[in-house]
């Protein structure tokens, strides 16, 4: 293939996408070239439009096209409870279950000293500000159940502790509908640790 010119440039740009290697990039590029010009125009404008118009919600830090975001602006939601997550996609995951009526706070990652990510690289200061201003009474820590997510939750619990604020960590255990004998030993051990009285 010609290593210069528009096709090469397109392949190179596509190969920057996460999970896309040079071969897939090439396949995608040829797909693009087979499409109607309008179709490609729609894709291109969707990309630029999303990037230009999506910003961070000044309250919860989630990605949104209006500020504050739909959730933070909704008066029917319970603004006294904040559920803390690592990434915007985690908000989507919790929203899908349609059980949670409070609001969110997106940290933008988890503490990982190895990767150079400290508290100042996360949106912790914004969270502290929200706790100071609004009548927040409950904080639910829903970071990932790995070393970094656990460390982040413990860190937040420590620095945010105060008598009028209930802080909890989401439970971990067996996936619903699964068989016990199919669970890996780490999950099973944690499920046992987190057992509840019936």
């Amino acid at each position: 293939m010609n290593t210069q010119g528009p096709i090469a440039r397109l392949v190179e740009e596509l190969a920057r996408l996460p999970g896309v290697g040079p071969k897939s990039a090439q396949r995608l590029a040829y797909w693009v070239l087979r499409q109607d010009p309008q179709r490609v125009q729609a894709l291109a404008s969707a990309l630029t439009d999303a990037r230009t118009n999506v910003q961070r919600c000044s309250a919860c830090q989630d990605l949104t096209d209006r500020d504050p975001c739909v959730i933070c602006a909704d008066p029917r939601r319970d603004h006294s409870t904040i559920l803390v997550v690592e990434e915007p996609r985690d908000v989507q995951a919790v929203e899908r279950i349609q059980e949670y009526r409070g609001v969110y706070h997106v940290l933008g990652g988890a503490l990982s000293p190895m990767d150079g990510i400290g508290p100042e690289d996360l949106r912790v200061r914004e969270l502290i500000q929200r706790l100071g201003a609004d009548g927040v009474t409950e904080l639910i820590l829903a970071t990932d159940p790995d070393v970094e997510g656990d460390a982040t939750a413990l860190y937040l619990a420590k620095i945010l502790r105060r008598p009028d604020l209930k802080i909890s960590r989401i439970a971990r255990g067996l996936p619903a509908g699964a068989d016990i004998d199919f669970a890996d030993e780490v999950t099973l051990a944690r499920a046992l640790e987190g057992r509840v009285e019936v």
């Binding site: 503490l111 990982s112 000293p113 190895m114 400290g118 508290p119 070393v147 970094e148 656990d150 460390a151 982040t152 939750a153 413990l154 860190y155 420590k158 620095i159 890996d184 030993e185 780490v186 051990a189």
Partner: protein, 360 residues
């Protein structure tokens, strides 16, 4: 569990070949640097997924090749299965059993196990504690479900915590302390249980080789002051000032060691070279027995050029183990084989080419 067939392609200096080890003893002979150890390394790697001596996986791939592939057929009472290890120069690695990704501990019928004994193991007692921890992690713990997960989890917490100490992030260290206490005490408990199970077996094996010596005592010198997470945490917190000054975690399983004593004397400092070697052999033999007791099957025993390094009684005791299950050993010279050690299969290797010389 018996290794019935090993097919090797693109591994070190070995020519592509399909080998069928005997259910008893297979002897591989050949001059130095012909590839004897490479065959044993391949047998161990297809079981464990890693080489016992390569620092990087691409060292294992034959020069000029882009990938290495090992395929082993194992037989157990319930049937046989194929397990493969594939390494690519690009760094990709895949371990499969019957075509599915290998998840250690997930097979209710058990995983294949291996104990490898090479000349470097003879200095297991003299060398640093890292070698003894590796021995526990890689060999002794093979039949312990959940061990490798506990070990990896501790490793990650420890690395994060050390970095947080270096970066001077006190509150982050505080958070990691709680995770440290859980992970460190869990791993300590697993290691102590393993060493406690190993100790009487090693003591017996040692006594059989050195009947006039005082008894060999084996215990875990734990780097974690308690097995109760709360107590361990309190102890860790007391050391914080020191940790902040040294910028490193001072407590935890990363400082564990296996302490070996003969009578009242610490073997590492006061033992003769003969005693230290005998203890190393005893630890290996005890591991074979421990795994056999835990899993009900004897692990594959691989002896890399160690017979020539051992004398009379020690060689005899090893020979006795050899008779009890599947063993593959390498030697430069058939003369090193004890009288009673009869090879069921004999291979000769020259410049990476294996020739099968006969089966009984």
């Amino acid at each position: 569990m018996i290794l019935e067939q090993l097919t090797v392609g693109g591994w070190r200096n070995l020519e592509a070949v399909s080998l069928e080890p005997a259910a008893g003893l297979t002897v591989i002979s050949g001059a130095n640097a012909q590839g004897k150890t490479n065959v044993l390394e391949a047998m161990a790697a297809v079981i464990t997924g890693t080489s016992h001596r390569a620092l990087r996986d691409d060292e294992l791939i034959t020069a000029g090749e882009i990938k290495a592939r090992l395929s082993a057929k194992f037989r157990r009472p319930s049937g046989s299965f194929e397990q493969t290890l594939e390494l690519e120069r690009a760094g990709r690695k895949s371990r499969r059993r019957e075509g599915k990704r290998v998840v250690p501990g997930a097979d209710p019928l058990g995983d294949p196990m291996v104990v490898l004994f090479c000349p470097e193991d003879l200095v297991l007692v003299q060398s640093g504690p890292a070698g003894r921890r590796r021995f526990l992690d890689r060999e002794v713990a093979q039949a312990t479900v959940g061990y490798s997960a506990a070990q990896r989890s501790y490793q990650r917490i420890w690395t994060q915590r050390n970095t947080a100490l270096k970066r001077g992030e006190g509150h982050v260290v505080d958070a990691l302390d709680l995770l440290w206490a859980q992970a460190a005490t869990r791993l300590t408990r697993l290691r102590r249980q393993l060493v406690e199970a190993l100790a009487p077996l090693a003591q017996k094996a040692y006594a059989a080789m050195a009947p006039f010596d005082p008894a060999l005592t084996v215990r875990l010198a734990a780097g974690t002051p308690a097995e109760d997470p709360q107590v361990a945490l309190a102890a860790l917190r007391q050391r914080r000032a020191e940790e902040e000054a040294r910028r490193i975690s001072v407590l935890g399983p990363h400082r564990d060691d296996i302490q070996l004593t003969i009578g009242d004397n610490e073997l590492r400092a006061f033992g003769s070279q003969g005693q230290q070697r005998t203890a190393a052999v005893a630890l290996k033999l005890a591991t074979v027995q421990l795994l056999q007791e835990a899993a009900g099957v004897r692990p594959l025993l691989l002896l890399d050029d160690v017979l020539s390094e051992l004398d009379g009684r020690r060689r005899e005791l090893l020979a006795q183990q050899v008779r009890e299950g599947q063993t593959v050993l390498t030697t430069t010279d058939a003369e090193f084989l004890p009288e009673r050690m009869r090879a069921d299969s004999w291979w000769e290797i020259q410049s990476g080419k294996v020739a099968v010389h006969g089966t009984a």
